[in-house]
């Protein structure tokens, strides 16, 4: 059982390298950070500084090579595939591209998230998916395929899908990069509002200076290191 009073995320002296031998490149240098439950943290930095790598490590999508990464108190260093897989069910992910399943309607895409919850009946999961789509303002577009939705609508579906699995940590990688500024703003506000209702922590990578104010805390990264901010 995961202790509720622990931090959502605790990282200490995390290092990561890409490549082998001569080509080996140090992309993350002794990163240490924490996220408390319900906190919204924004991570900024120039491209190529290792933000996405950090996100994939936290999301249990990559093996931790060196250092401590604890998500919900679970150690990811040396964790087996199964542990990481189960952990992923509690981590919602929103990608740069929407990454929706092309063959599924908006509602079905959201339900793919809800289907990860095993203890709910089909009807309950279906109802939840609809509820989420309503929450992101897409109640009129439930049966549309991704190709018939606009960029902002797709990203809303992606948010609904990520939240439908009831995650306790939401990782978002530049969710607004493909959107115009006003839509981007709406999306981020919506994301924050819904995440907080769920007591879900958010770690968002962004380049977008216009949305920095939603953060409880701002982290800056440069050359694989966290830069202390004022």
């Amino acid at each position: 059982m995961i202790n509720s009073c622990t931090k959502t995320l605790e990282i200490s002296s995390l290092n990561h390298w890409y490549g082998q031998g001569e080509m080996r490149r140090h992309v993350l240098r002794s990163i240490s950070m924490q996220i408390s439950p319900g906190e919204v943290v924004l991570l900024t930095g120039p491209s190529g500084c290792g933000k996405t790598t950090l996100l994939t490590l936290i999301g249990a999508l990559r093996k931790v090579q060196n250092g401590d990464v604890r998500v919900f108190g679970k150690q990811l260093y040396g964790a087996c595939r199964k542990t990481r897989q189960n952990l992923r069910k509690n981590i919602g992910m929103i990608f740069q591209g929407h990454n929706l399943l092309r063959c599924l309607s908006a509602e079905q895409n959201v339900q793919m998230g809800a289907d990860l919850l095993n203890d709910f009946s089909y009807k309950a999961r279906r109802a939840q998916s609809r509820e989420w789509l309503r929450a992101v303002g897409l109640e009129d577009h439930m049966s549309k395929l991704p190709q018939d939705l606009s960029g902002g609508q797709k990203q809303r579906v992606a948010i609904a899908r990520a939240l439908a699995a009831k995650p306790r940590l939401l990782l978002a990688d530049e969710p607004t990069s493909a959107l115009d500024s006003s839509t981007g703003r709406e999306i981020v506000d919506l994301l924050k509002k819904l995440a907080l209702e769920q007591a879900c922590s958010v770690l968002m990578v962004t380049h977008d200076p216009r949305i920095l104010d939603v953060a409880d805390r701002l982290l800056q990264m440069e050359d694989g290191q966290l830069v202390p901010t004022v």
Binding site: T52, L55, T56, G59, L61, R62, K82, Q85, N86, R88, K89, N90, I91, M93, F95, Q96, N99, L101, R102, C103, L104, Q108, Q111, M112, G113, D115, L116, N118, S121, Y122, K123, L145, R161, A162, A165, D173
Partner: protein
Amino acid sequence: MKLANILKKRKIPLAWLLLTRQPLRILVAIAGISFAGILMFMQLGFRDGLFDASVTVHKLFNADLVLISPRSKSSISMSGFPRRRLVQAMAHKDVIGTTAVNWNFLLWRNPKNLSTRSILALGFEPSKPLLLDANFERKAETLKNKGRVLFDDLSRDEFGPIANWFKSGRLVETEVGGKRVRVSGIVSLGPSFGADGNLITSRETFLDLSPGNPQGSIEIGLVRVKKGSDIENVVRSLNLSLPSDVKVMSLKSFIEFEKNYWKSSTSIGFIFTLGAAMGFIVGCVIVYQILYSDVSDHLPEYATLMAMGYNLKSLLGVVAREGFILSIMGYVPAYLSGQLLYALVRSSTKLPVEMSITRASIIFFLILFMCMGSALVAMKKLADADPAEIF
């Protein structure tokens, strides 16, 4: 209770949606699988049909046991044995009746265009039973006049429109073996691989039409035994008591004997089984292509699902289900076209090609195996789905 549970646990039918949202791809897949299925249905149907056709007459014999010469290898090379053996067989306490049958190929002249063609002629004593058909006895009566024959209306058309002429009340006369005969009735036997047509006549007429045949020699002896007697037992004791110039066997093993000849001593079995195997391989390649490109196309989506927390096993399940759905969707049209083509083959070749439950289920399992096997190979591609690459 269990069903309710399953309904409760059910999820989005991803495999079904992946397939059906790409109508063109699934149409190609169904066409390919059906084609493979039809190929297998046809090849195996022909094979079994030819084997069955070789015993169409055998199956109709009103007999429990059969006496043949040990030199007889098949219906197209029957040797004679002394008719006395049949009389000797009567001595067995369980035997209640016998029929001597002459069996040979004679030349039939088509009365319409006067061309000749080899026809299988059966000669027997009209007062004795020959075929199981209830109406046959009445028709056999007419053979008591010399020079009368019963013509098989399932014979190939090259023998002339005999049945039509006869049914329209016309007097049908032609030549068999150079002698004049009159058709006095119509029977339905069916052509076989060896014989394109059949006719039945009395022994007396038969010997007249084929003067080379020794008087006391017959090719087949039909033996009927008392109800409830142990046929295998009678076969054994007759084989012991009769000289070695005859062989006694049950009707069933006589049928098997004939089928076996066509199976083992000719290339039919090999050719058609090879044809079916080709269909199977073609199907495998098609299904593999379809599933492989389907997995490749959706690789980022599979990776997304893995990132969301779906495990590899459940994604492999999606591919397996796609294979299963394809096998069902491909089998149904293959089965229906199989039925249709069988009917076509029956009407144009008069071969007894029927849809048997065994063949239908064998082909179903072959298609299932084909689809699941291809799915299994296509699954390897899923290992390329790396959730870390999608950010």
